[in-house]
């Protein structure tokens, strides 16, 4: 009798042990095996997986960015379980897979773990504004009513509408965040301008016997840049973003050839009449016409204080002028001779030919 109970206990323990081995094994295997055999073997993930294999992040495994089921306790376990359930029940099509905004923020935390300098620069610049910074701004809210289109450039990942975020929707405050959890979250996280799964440069040593293989003659591509279009809920590569026609009076402005301009102008955009400098537009005209935004603005921080030195080495030999002492926004931010549209005529009385 005793023996029987003992045998049963042993048997149960063995079964439990086997179950644990299988569960633990599955979990370990899932996170250790190559994605082709795990995540990406499910058809709805395969397009993302395909782009990832050609991206700069191809040596970083799925869970490093997307997390594992046990990494974040109950939260991650339930999240991953829901994904599996949806996979089994609805068989979603690749077209319909999206990161939620919460996942965007979680993924961003993982970006930061490697890209600390970029993060620090971004945090110090103007693009790290939080929901509270943007939506509770008194100057804005007393002059313009908050509206749906705010979310085109700020909070493009938000899964609700402006009335879910802030109250009251009127020009009379005081305003407060209705969605308190999100108040200190960034409205323009990394994924606003970056795609993580995108074609990147292969890491390789130059082959000195073939000069075209050396860095300076290679055709460099950074395809991680793209803009997240809220209306479509997808990133547009720079190549797929439009270059708007910008006018200066009736003349057509030569817009920067650098594709990054297409990204900037999405939000730093002119009025419908497309005049340079109207509304939020900063397309350079005048002496800086055609110059890339990146020529002066650092990426991430948008810092530009050392930028003149890049092209203007002190006093000009031609006219004996030092641009850094001239009355421009570089010298004086309130100057009427804004760097974006300062022209020869602004400083020289007679038109220079």
């Amino acid at each position: 009798m005793k023996n029987k109970i003992f045998r049963n206990i042993i048997r149960s323990l063995l079964i439990l042990f086997v179950i644990l081995i299988i569960l633990g094994g599955s979990y370990t295997w899932w996170n250790a095996a190559s994605p082709e055999r795990t995540c990406a073997s499910c058809h709805e993930i395969s397009p993302s997986h395909t782009t990832w294999t050609a991206s700069a992040h191809r040596d970083i495994s799925c869970f490093k960015c997307h997390g594992t089921a046990l990494e974040n306790g109950w939260h991650s376990l339930s999240e991953k379980t829901r994904m599996v359930m949806r996979h089994i029940q609805n068989k979603p099509h690749p077209d319909d897979i999206r990161l939620s905004e919460a996942q965007i923020f979680e993924t961003m935390e993982r970006c930061i773990s490697c890209h600390q300098t970029e993060y620090a620069n971004w945090l110090a610049g103007g693009h790290s504004a939080t929901y509270a910074d943007i939506l509770l701004d008194e100057t804005h809210n007393t002059t313009e009513q908050l509206n749906f289109d705010c979310l085109r450039c700020h909070g493009m990942f938000y899964e609700g509408t402006i009335p879910d975020l802030v109250e009251p929707i009127s020009q009379h405050g005081p305003w407060s965040m209705k969605d308190k959890k999100i108040a200190d979250k960034p409205t323009m996280p990394c994924m606003t301008c970056h795609q993580i799964h995108s074609k990147g440069e292969p890491a390789q040593r130059p082959d000195y016997s073939s000069p075209n293989n050396i860095f300076y003659s290679r055709n460099m591509e950074n395809n991680s840049l793209g803009f997240f279009i809220r209306n479509e809920k997808i990133h547009f590569d720079l190549a797929n973003l439009p270059t708007p026609v910008i006018l200066n009076g009736t003349d057509t402005v030569q817009t920067p050839a650098d594709l990054v301009y297409r990204l900037c102008v999405q939000c730093h955009a002119p009025s419908v009449w497309h005049q340079a400098g109207s509304h939020d537009d900063r397309t350079p005209t005048g002496v800086h016409e055609g110059i890339s935004c990146r020529a002066c603005h650092e990426p991430h921080s948008n810092y530009q204080r050392n930028s003149c030195d890049k092209c203007h080495p002190g006093e000009s030999k031609n006219c004996r002028l030092d641009v850094k002492t001239m009355n421009t926004t570089y010298f004086l931010p309130s100057s009427e001779n804004d760097i974006h549209f300062v022209s020869c005529d602004d400083c020289h009385e007679n038109q220079i030919r």
């Binding site: 295997w29 077209d95 309130s334």
Partner: protein
């Protein structure tokens, strides 16, 4: 070769895990939601003649078939039967006329075939359940929707049709319409 107990357990668990997972995600044979692979090929060829590729992308590059496939299990569920029967009638007609599948015909034969269908002149024997002219008009209309509509419905990949029409997407529009010196004022404080 000696293996530690820990290593043995790890390998054992990995083996068990892989056995558990390998068959889990098998069984997706067609990448389409409604069409069979063969039906999809017919629709791709058909839409590809309605909006052919030239210096700009055509229906095939824009993934118009993906649009139709997606709508057929959504708002266009009511057209499922017509598509199933219509595609089969196209295939039967092509077999009879050319002894080939419609998607294997060359461009001239495909367009010739479609002109006949548009005019209701294909052999009637295969078109007893579906009217060839109304099916032609249906696929024509759906192809236009897939090529010119929004990519969120599965077609017009990367807004290729908007690019062809020189229409910016997204519409580049500024929002800052009040005289705010706040940006400048903040810089002044630096």
């Amino acid at each position: 070769m000696e293996t530690s107990r820990r290593e043995f357990l790890r390998q054992l668990s990995l083996a068990c895990g892989s056995v558990l997972f390998i068959p889990a995600c098998a069984g997706y044979d067609s990448p389409w939601r409604f069409f069979s692979e063969k039906e999809a090929r017919t629709v791709i060829a058909f839409a590809g003649q309605i909006i052919p590729a030239d210096q700009d992308a055509g229906a095939t590059d824009a993934n118009v078939v993906n649009f139709i496939d997606k709508q057929l299990i959504g708002p266009y569920t009511r057209f499922q039967e017509e598509y199933r029967k219509g595609i089969s009638a196209i295939e039967n007609s092509a077999q009879k006329l050319f002894q080939k599948a419609f998607y294997e015909l060359d461009r001239d034969n495909q367009t010739g075939f479609m002109e006949q269908m548009e005019a209701g002149k294909l052999p009637e024997e295969f078109w007893t359940e579906v009217n060839q002219r109304s099916f032609f008009n249906l696929v024509l209309d759906h192809s236009m929707q897939g090529f010119y509509g929004s990519p969120r419905h599965g077609g017009n990949k990367n807004y290729v049709s908007y690019k062809m029409m020189r229409l910016d997407y997204p519409h580049v529009l500024g929002q800052n319409r009040y005289e705010s010196k706040c940006a400048t004022a903040k810089l002044m404080e630096l």
